[in-house]
Subunit: 355 residues, 5 copies
């Protein structure tokens, strides 16, 4: 948290369009891979240089997917910009990896920013990565911050050549990428759901000292996810209305579908947030409950024994003239009194339902 | 909760339109029943095969209601899709039983998703089931997740042949199905209302240890119901505006009526949610109240007896020269002092209204 | 609360338009009264049969106000419906007395549902009754759930023949009825205001054990009133925009006036709700305050006397060799020590401002 | 609070337009003053009779400002209404001094209701007074509830004859009146700001018993001010859009300016409300903090001395065979044990940072 | 806080357009600097008199940036107004330095108000300064409250002559100024983020007595920042829609960019506010937790030793006939009983997980 702001501030005052990577450096080296396909053929290349990409979009019968992992080298992104004629502010947004999801229509191409979420199970941490898509008439360029993504199955589908994807255009590819990102959100939600259930169980059975911290961590992660999902919903809402000429009519039902999914994600997230808030409430009132229990134990013990100790204290006094001390059954009588008094106390507590 | 997310995530990355059931398998086997009627005649068949359905919509004088219970066999749903020419994404939505209520106009037919709620009285649990309706010009196909529904009385009305339903078209049938689902919501609300009243009584008379859990369970159930009802309201709002040509003008007043009902459900639900929140507040402050009571008892007992014990302790000391010990009435005087001191304490407590 | 839901659920599944009373039966028998007036003449009849009403609207020079108290006899309402050509769903809404305020324009007549509130001073309970108005070109039919209403002064004005009402049409009569209902809301608000002031005083001076319950009851009543008033505001807002041809232009300023009043009611209600929430806050923190006070008393007493008792205990030990016990002024010295110790404690408490 | 509702309810059921004063009677007698001015001349009269006003608006070269203080005599207001041809509902609104700010365009004149706030420093109370403005083509009539207003400097400006006001029309005069009212709001806000700062200091340094009451009073006053300011913002927003022909184009920038001010008032008020809520939070948690402190003192004292008293009690027992009692250094050893035990306790507390 | 309201109130009642500085006097003396540039040339002058400015905008090939630091001398601002033909209300807004961000289109020029925030690291205080921009066709006039601003790097860029700025018009200069202000917000956010992280650590590890104050200060500062940022978002939203003819089409993408940034600021600020609220929650429940711990210690000690002290008290009684006292192993037996009793207590506490 806060890290990209630190970096962003270091750039305050520089002219807009200055290409300089702002954000955490997440990848070791920049990797460019290319997939080109049409209904019948598929070309796939790894470690492509930017210059080689130049020739790609020329071939109109193919759909080209250029994927770049690692955006910390401003020079490579700049070359991309020159080759594909991208606006400097767009390139800046690719390099500043703290963007909120948005879409901008530059007529010749569509610029879409998404956030790809993943859950680092080991550190129990939510990772967020910026995915920038440039969607042209026959190509899609995707920029990721690091290697490793949620597009593995999509690549398989392209390679497999079955299904719709090989027969459709770049707009469908862009949809498929967005769909993969949103599908991943359901995995995250599932994680949240499980954690939430676990926390609810813990809170009801007996919270440990770190329960509060876990609830707050979960709440914070859901807050961060919300920051990614809410604007995405708007982005998809705008896309599915079909205002951009780059999104063909045959893709619109699919965009509507992924839009529906994003609403579902938002809905579920809000429900989870409400449930987390309720869990916190239960936790806090369980604190009060336990305090009550502690106080009751103290009160019962003190209320029974303090008066009895007083009685014992009375007959521990050393007055010369204390007739009771001389009585034959004085000691027994005092025990009797004490037992009766204690018993009455216990009865009173039972009546108040403290026992 | 969370179950369908687990399943949905297992499908992340698959191509859209892949027909595969996602959700809990709730029915043993798929059941297809058909009712065909017009003003004078009624045909009713159980255990129909999908192929037999193919001929149905051809008969224009009849309204056909095809009902399928159990959607876990993707193959059967796919056959339906082929027979009736349904869009693959629509079929996917039928199979993925975690949809939020929505309506989609596919020109040739209208696709409506609802959620049918029921209350499992035994387990005190709210059950939610997805109902998908495909409304064509002369047919309605309904897909349920399991056998058993809220359409029993509707079937009776069709069989009875009285009233409006036999004289009207498929749009009225669709309305009647939605109306039955919304009517059921009132039954759920009634359950909530009763539970809420019971909880309010419990909280005021003396909350038990599971009261908090019950309030939270109720709140959570209302949260889940809300997820079903809010989007339904929008769906019905859009339908009653009459934008779809499949909904004839004579059905619009009825749609407006069921829309009104859905607003009433939303209203009442929100009121109940406010009341549940208030009940929680009362519960929490009753905890504080009881803590106050416990503390008062402790304070009264301790404040009276600790000083008296001190006095007794003083005269239990073994100093050689303690003149009081030798006095004739020393013991009696000490009792007097202790009784007066205790009495004054009691008076002070009465003044503070602690007694 | 909840009662009409119980009943409504018993009707779940019946065909729409089935005329059957749903709601609490509040009146003993159905009473139909008729007032017919123009600028010069006035006819007034009690205990009219529905059949007699049939002739009424025919007379165009008169405005007819037909009032029916008690709606539990579906048959009579049905007859009305047939005589005046009312839509079955409208009749259903009249019989199901749990409607939220709404207005529906049926071209030939306007259907308006309001909720008349009254305050049962004895039981300190808010009563809510549905008033359904059917406004035709020359007649108004009003349906009430029980006898006794807020229209007494309105009847006097009609009988007195002074003022505007005798000169104007059915739309003005409808306005006058709505105005009377809204005016009554101010009486309710006044009641709430007084109760709120009383509760604020109680909370500040020293809350009793039922204070929390009273605050919650008040909050709940305001919640219920809100349910009646918010939709009414929308209803009046739509009416005053003059979209219905049944509301003539000369009535619009009056409708705007009653619309203003309804906004004022909503405003005041929201302010009262905020104030009730603040009162609850004060109550809760007064609980904490009192707990603090109780704890202080306990702490002061215990902190002073427990150490003193310890000192007394020390010299109550029976060791053979305790030199202090033999001292001439040992006893006096112990008293001195104890008094000084106690005094220092008191000083410390005064410094902490606990005394 | 609540007073005008009490009165308003006493009028429930009367015909609309019945002129009768509803509200607190705040002025002794009705005062009518008139100022007439153009660029060169100024006529000023006190104690004018309504009849004399009749001739005023006829003179087209002058702008007339008629100010009436005290609206409890319905007769005078009625005469005004007849003389200037005002709508009965407008007159009713003037007399019922509980209106929320609004503006109504009656074509021939504009009716504006504002609320003038003042702060009674002595009673520390917020006073609210209704100002009704009738803005005609060449006149402004202002109705106040009592003598004394915020228009003193405005009168001076008119008398001084400098600045814009003498050269402009009645619309500018109306603007100047509204501006004076809104300027006064800043004075109120300043008062709130000072009180808030004082309360924040008190809460941090050590809250007294009436702190809670002061915070709540402040919150309530801000709530009441909000009721006046929010609708005013809408009123000014509508006016500055220039929809009324009575507001000339040269006045619109000024209206935009006062509209800006009203937004600033709303903004600051909302910020203050948030800050008051935060102050309450601090107050409440300072209660918890002090409770913690009290409990710590009790616990430290009790935890140290109760075990020591137990040890002393043991050696106060009268068993015949207690070898320790006979030891030469038994007494000293017990003291040693007790001192060590007490010291260890203190160390433990220091470790827990309770000391 | 509140300071400018105090001053603003001192002006209540004065005629609008009266030029008088309202606000804290933040600069020692007024400084006017001018930068004039085109693609090739740059003129830069310090300590310019207003009269010298008069000639500036005449030169059409140059873009002129006139910057005035210190607005407390109304006379200079007034001269500016006369020279550039600015509206009196605009000048008033420049002098009253408590404006909320806004933009007003005066056709000949555009008036934009921003708030420049800075963080006084020493006093840990958020400083807010009003920046007023007047954007003409070929000039920008900026008014600051004090010397020292966030435009240093911008000046360097102009001087350096590289990049876009020297080739573009006054609209781009205005954009660059706004961009610098918004960039500075990220620095502030970074500060907030760091403070928030520090507070979260403190709260989890063990809050000090001033933790609550720090949280509240942070919340208040974020509240103040919010007041500056929310309206700015609207201002930039309006500007980027390109409604003003003074903002050329080539600047719109840049305005959209800074608009995006402002949304990002708002988003992050809201997230931080939620996190601060969560931190407060954690703090408050850590108070409860510590109270619980304190109570447990007290209860354990008291519950173990009070009964033991009672037993010791019993055998400290002086009854003549107490058989146990005479027993050979009485003393040992009592010790045994006490040890067993104490051990059982400890076991019970362990079971309740209090130890």
């Amino acid at each position: 948290m806060g890290i990209h702001h630190r970096k962003a501030s270091s750039k305050a005052g520089l002219p807009p369009g200055t290409l300089m990577h702002v954000g955490e450096r997440k990848a070791e080296e920049v990797q460019v891979t290319v997939m080109q396909y049409n209904g019948s053929d598929l070309l796939e290349k790894d470690g492509v240089s930017v210059r080689e990409c130049e020739a790609l979009p020329a071939d109109e019968s193919f759909v080209s997917w250029i994927n770049m992992s690692g955006v910390h080298e401003a020079g490579i992104v700049e070359t991309f910009g020159r080759v594909f004629g991208l606006h400097p502010l767009l390139l800046e947004d690719i390099l500043h990896t703290g963007q909120r999801p948005k879409q901008e229509d530059y007529e010749a191409y569509l610029f879409i920013v998404l956030r790809m979420l993943s859950f680092d199970v080991e550190k129990r941490e939510l990772l967020s990565e910026q995915i920038s898509l440039v969607v042209g008439p026959r190509y899609v360029i995707s920029f990721q911050e690091r290697e490793g993504d949620v597009f593995g199955l999509l690549r398989e589908r392209i390679r497999g050549g079955k299904g719709r994807i090989r027969k459709m255009g770049a707009d469908y590819l862009a949809y498929a990428l967005m769909d993969a990102v949103v599908d991943q959100y359901f995995v995250i939600l599932e994680n949240f759901g499980e954690e939430l259930e676990a926390l609810q169980d813990v809170v009801l059975s007996g919270p440990a000292s770190d329960t509060l911290g876990s609830i707050q961590t979960l709440k914070r992660e859901m807050l961060w996810m919300r920051k990614s999902v809410w604007p995405l919903r708007e982005v998809l809402g705008e896309l599915q209305r079909g205002e951009s000429s780059l999104m063909g009519p045959e893709v619109l039902p699919f965009l509507r579908d992924v839009y529906d999914h994003s609403i579902q994600v938002v809905d579920t997230l809000e429900t989870f947030r409400d449930m987390a808030a309720a869990t916190l409430e239960v936790y806090l009132s369980s604190l009060s409950n336990r305090m009550n229990e502690v106080m009751k134990v103290l009160t019962i013990i003190a209320t029974i024994f303090i008066p009895l100790t007083f009685i014992a204290g009375v007959y521990g006094m050393n007055f010369r003239y204390m007739p009771e001390l001389e009585w034959r059954w004085g000691y027994a009588a005092v025990w009797l009194v004490m037992i009766v008094a204690g018993g009455l106390m216990l009865l009173a507590f039972r009546r108040k339902k403290w026992l």
